[in-house]
């Protein structure tokens, strides 16, 4: 059984007990444990079930590469699925549940799949669910959805209880990985004076080195690490962060670091995760290496663990996964595990070494009394939920002549693969290293930065070297090289000399035994998380999946949360063998960020809740909010759709506002309208290019409605332009248009007419602008006193500066409603006071504030177009009957040339008309008009669409505007609009001006 040892455990504090639960059972561990080490200490061998066959699964690794030990962590608002037990630091009160089983971990109905596995080979889903076609929607998809995914998504009503943040960091050299190589590289780089940021994904510095042992100089390696860490901590130019993973490397030295601040102390003050958005001149990837599993039958039974992980559990956490351990290897390193176990008092039954001979470490093991069997292999592991026996055989051959040996754990080592993920994310290339049978970074083909030179240097075992001395030498050189490339002068220093027992060469072993029969291959797992076996990859190869990328998708090898950290190299070796190709020719799948999954919270950062998105507020926002505003988002602005009164529906409020504004007095907060000052000797010429109509001839003091088209001819904005003085104009834009049109003007001024003397300034937010609308508009202004707002002093389409009451203002006599109307601009900081003054003075005149829906209805009654309703980026002024606004005198304006293109002049273009329903109902928004006949798909031919549709309380019926083919020539005809409610709406084509056709009301 797996137990806590009486000694060992360099990372745990035995004086501090920690209580946690797994599937509701209370367990104990120590401070410093990971959830995985604590589970093993409690003899919890089985921690979950596999994805496809629901096979029992146990911890197989000790770090980020773990494919099996995924649990649901936490509860309620802090529940998260698919968390790796091996990277979860234990804390008091931790709750964890295993995944992928029903009804429970020990007894699982889905495990039937393992007995059906013969019928569930690679590509099963693709082959099975194609026929018969109707089955997909009603049978297959619901079934697959039911069984898909690993952990369960959090409850839909729960809300993440934590906060997150981003941090932008800048450094000369970023070192990813705080193992001995990263520490040494950081030191070598920092010695040059370069600014160094060193990040490490675990809570500890030194990586594997203190576990693997050896000496540096005259000191044991763990002492050397300690000194190195304290030395770096004192350096001003070095920043060190543990619990911070290098998640991805991107263009131009951009790197994401994923810092887990309070995962080990939930509820602590401050953000839970911090996403470091790092810009580094140079990046050193000291990301270490990952041990490969061996492919033998039953290698997925709980208790079969990587040899290095077994060593980690003993040395770091004082836990042994078994009392009687068998070790299978193809290299010398696994003997360190044998020796460590033996010295910890664990029975090492024997080491099965696929090679014919081994090195000095094997000698040392033998001297400790450990039996070493060269040329041997594991044929099969027996046991269901934990290891019970192992059948041994010769490595050469098909696995006959087996010897059965009792044991309760198996430590396996198939050699080491450098962690090349971060090197590869941004285009770093790999070479195949024959001696170590692994891919390592090709230093001649690094990821390239903004200057065209490499910006990533791999260091230590991430670069290939595995022996302590070689790792230090390589890392030291990498640190110096990075500092130099970052523009600093490295010190002429030598790497410290590391010494560890010399190792004999490893031999690649991709299958155990070498020619295992199909029965064994069908039980030899490559990918533990996704249930991909040797036989699956071989089948994929036989079926023609020659590209490793295709094989990945077909078999699911290397997919899901671990992205094949353990399985990829073994899988592609099997594929290469099946294709009779060399491994480097088959190549790897693409390494994509993040290295391990990072939280959605970290990605979102601060952007949640109140700061999910900026909400722009006018100076009167709070008043609207307190007075029943039903909010409508317009760009990032919030505008009042309607002001509802207690007990009043939004619809009723709109109708009330519509009637009151026509009959009495309405106030609209129009502050969101864009206001651009355009000034200079060439401003008139410039505006003549910007607008389709003439602006240079506008007289000072007057206003003119203008249209703007893109160079491509389509309408992009409209608004009233006021001439302020000889060389100054003020252009109003639509609410969403201020920044866009400001940018549009600047783009033309900067990239085309940069010699024109024009300056533009966006003064939108300088003013609170209030539309005072209705028959009583003049009365309320006159009551407040100040400037003369009479018809004579301030005629329609003119503006004046002056005072209304005590307020300095600019008053525009413009109307978007057809009523007598003034738009009054005051400084934003007086906006609320001015609004209050109007509301107070307006009481006797029946004042009511009105919202955007009322604004829309009033303008639709008048047939005024609205950018974004009547236009959608494909509509030209001619479509809307606005030919009057297209200057014929001007040689050029934006859009003029485009309007001459044949499609723009096509008489079949849909044109604007008014629509009046035959029965007074309201045509649904977005409805299409249908004509005679059907198209190739059997659908009714479409001859137009509704662009605006409302109920008009003033007219007591539904009114609409729409674009209809040959519309203006079809006045009086009835067209049909099928609704999505199975009704067909019939409407008569009419003039789009429904109300006060001669404009008498606004011109009083």
């Amino acid at each position: 059984m797996s137990t806590r040892l009486a000694n060992h455990g360099r990372l745990i504090d035995r004086s501090k007990k920690v209580t946690f639960t797994f599937n509701g059972t209370s367990m104990q561990g120590f401070e410093g444990d990971t959830l995985a080490s604590a589970l093993l200490a409690n003899d919890q061998m089985m921690v979950g079930r596999s994805f496809k066959y629901h096979r029992p699964r146990g911890v197989v690794a000790s770090g980020a590469e773990e494919p099996n030990a995924l649990v649901g962590l936490g509860q309620g608002n802090r529940f998260e699925p698919n968390q790796r037990a091996t990277t979860t630091e234990l804390f008091n009160g931790l709750t964890s549940v295993s995944q992928n089983h029903w009804p429970n971990l020990e007894f699982d109905v889905g495990a039937i799949n393992t007995h059906l596995s013969r019928f569930l080979p690679a590509g099963f889903y693709y082959k099975m669910f194609i026929h018969p076609k109707p089955f997909w929607k009603h049978v297959y998809e619901p079934f697959i959805r039911q069984s898909a995914g690993l952990g369960k998504a959090p409850d839909k009503d729960s809300r993440d209880a934590d906060t997150y943040e981003h941090f932008y960091a800048f450094t000369d050299v970023l070192v990813i990985g705080g193992g001995i190589a990263g520490l040494q590289a950081a030191k070598a780089a920092a010695a040059s004076g370069a600014k160094v940021l060193l990040i490490e994904q675990t809570a500890h510095w030194g990586g594997r080195a203190p576990v693997d042992g050896g000496t540096v100089g005259d000191e044991p390696v763990d002492k050397f690490v300690e000194q190195l860490v304290s030395e770096l901590e004192t350096m001003d130019n070095v920043t060190m962060r543990n619990r911070c993973m290098g998640a991805g490397v991107y263009d131009h030295g951009y790197v994401l670091g994923y810092e887990r601040l309070t995962d080990h102390a939930p509820g602590a003050q401050g953000p839970r995760h911090r996403l470091w958005r790092i810009r580094a001149k140079q990046v050193v990837t000291a990301t270490g290496a990952i041990e490969r599993p061996l492919s033998f039958a039953g290698n997925d039974v709980p208790g079969v663990i990587l040899a290095s992980a077994v060593r980690d559990y003993v040395v770091n956490w004082g836990v042994t996964p078994g009392d009687r351990v068998i070790i299978a290897t193809n290299n010398d390193d696994a003997y360190r595990t044998a020796i460590t176990l033996k010295q910890a008092g664990v029975d090492v039954i024997r080491v099965v070494d696929a090679r014919s001979s081994a090195g000095l470490l094997a000698e040392e093991a033998r001297q400790l009394g450990i039996r070493v069997d060269p040329g041997k292999a594991i044929a099969k592991v027996k046991g269901g939920k934990r290891v019970k026996k192992v059948e041994l055989c010769n490595q050469d051959g098909i696995g006959g002549a087996r010897e059965e040996v009792d044991c309760d754990a198996v430590a396996m080592s198939g050699g080491w693969s450098p962690v090349v993920h971060l090197w590869s994310h941004c285009g770093g290339k790999l070479i195949w290293d024959e001696a170590n049978a692994h891919f390592r970074p090709d230093p001649k083909r690094p990821p390239l930065g903004a200057d065209g030179d490499g910006f990533v240097v791999a260091a230590g075992s991430a670069n290939g070297p595995l022996a302590l001395g070689d790792v230090l030498t390589d890392a030291h050189a990498a640190g110096k090289a990075a500092a130099k490339a970052a523009g600093h002068k490295p010190k002429n220093t030598k790497a410290p000399s590391g010494d560890a027992t010399e190792e004999a060469a490893m031999e690649p072993v991709w299958l155990m035994p070498a020619n295992a029969d199909i029965q064994l291959r069908m039980k030899s797992w490559l990918d533990f998380q996704n249930d991909v076996k040797v036989s699956d990859v071989q089948l994929a190869a036989r079926e023609g999946y020659e590209s490793v990328e295709h094989t990945k998708r077909y078999t699911t090898l290397g997919m899901a949360t671990d992205q094949g950290k353990l399985s990829n190299i073994n899988g592609l070796a099997i594929l290469a063998d099946a294709l009779d190709a060399e491994i480097p020719k088959v190549g790897t799948t693409t390494f994509r960020p993040p290295y391990t999954p990072i939280s959605m919270g970290a990605i979102g950062g601060e952007a949640r809740g109140e700061v999910f998105q900026p909400i722009r507020r006018t100076p009167m926002h709070d008043w609207h909010d307190k007075n029943g505003a039903d909010w409508e988002p317009v760009g990032h602005w919030r505008r009042t759709y309607a002001y509802t009164r207690p007990g009043e529906s939004v619809h009723d409020a709109v109708n009330r506002e519509v009637k009151n504004t026509r009959e009495n007095l309405g106030l609209l907060d129009a502050s969101t309208l864009g206001k651009l000052i355009v000034k200079g000797p060439d401003a008139g010429k410039f505006l003549d290019m910007m607008y389709t109509n003439m602006m240079s001839t506008l007289k000072v003091g007057k206003c003119r409605y203008g249209l703007m088209c893109s160079e491509n001819g389509f309408l992009i904005d409209d608004g009233v332009v006021a001439r302020i003085d000889d060389d100054t104009w003020l252009c109003h834009t639509t609410t969403g248009g201020a920044e866009r049109i400001h940018g549009h003007m600047e783009e033309w001024l900067q990239t085309e007419w940069w010699d024109w003397k024009v300056y533009v300034a966006n003064v939108t937010e300088q003013y609170a602008q209030i539309a005072v609308v209705g028959p009583n508009a003049r009365k309320v202004l006159e009551k407040l006193g100040g400037m003369d707002v009479s018809k004579e002093a301030l005629p329609f389409m003119e503006w004046r500066d002056g005072k209304i009451g005590d307020f300095d203002c600019r008053a525009y006599r413009v109307s978007f409603s057809g009523e007598l109307s003034y738009e009054i601009a005051v400084a934003a900081s007086h906006g609320q006071a001015f609004w209050d003054a109007l509301m107070e003075a307006g009481k006797e005149f029946g004042v009511m504030p009105y919202g955007t829906e009322c604004l829309h209805i009033l303008r639709a009654e008048k047939g005024f177009i609205m950018i974004g309703d009547e236009t959608d980026g494909t509509v030209i002024p001619q479509d809307l009957g606005l030919n009057w606004a297209l200057s014929k005198k001007k040689e050029d304006y934006l859009g003029k040339r485009a309007h001459l293109r044949s499609h723009m002049a096509d008489p079949d273009r849909w044109k604007l008309v008014g629509l009046e329903t035959v029965d007074g109902s309201v045509i649904p928004d977005g409805a299409y008009a249908v004509g005679e006949g059907v198209n190739a798909n059997g659908q009714r031919n479409v001859i137009g669409r509704v662009t605006s549709t409302y109920y008009s309380a003033n007219l007591g019926k539904g009114i609409a505007m729409g674009l209809i083919k040959h519309g203006p020539d079809r006045m009086g005809e009835i067209v049909e609009f099928p609704g999505t409610d199975d009704k067909t709406y019939k409407a008569k084509i009419v003039d789009p001006i429904f109300f006060d056709k001669d404009g008498e009301k606004q011109n009083v």
Binding site: Y254, G449, D451, N712, E746, E752, W754, E891, K896, A898
Partner: protein, 109 residues
């Protein structure tokens, strides 16, 4: 995630502060131009694998347009310069020549 040096401020800008405005050095064809010229001006783009000239706007910032000469494959940046010009400055052309002898891009080489 590019960083581009702003020729106006001298600051190294993050891509998230910028907006790309598409191909640079386009010649405008207005009224009086042929359909072919107008079509080319409006719609035809180089879309190269390799050297490219693009307009960039420091939108979250000073609001100025500049041009970046960039390699679309390697992301190497050969230089940035104000948009108020009809052709790339000589030092940018030299920088491209050093890496891509014989390159061409529209009328430039």
């Amino acid at each position: 995630m590019l960083t581009l040096k702003c020729p106006f401020t001298g600051a190294l800008l993050d891509e998230t502060e910028l907006n790309c405005g598409g191909e640079a050095h386009r010649k405008r064809f207005g009224p009086g131009s042929s359909d072919e010229d107008f079509e080319t001006y409006m719609f035809t783009r180089e879309n190269p694998r390799g050297v490219h000239f693009e307009l960039w706007l420091h939108s979250y910032g000073i609001g100025k347009w500049f041009i970046a000469a960039r390699d679309t494959e390697t992301m190497e940046v050969y230089g940035t310069y104000p948009a108020q010009t009809t052709e790339p400055p000589q030092e940018v052309i030299d920088a491209i020549n050093a890496k891509h002898p014989g390159w061409t891009w529209r009328e430039f080489s």
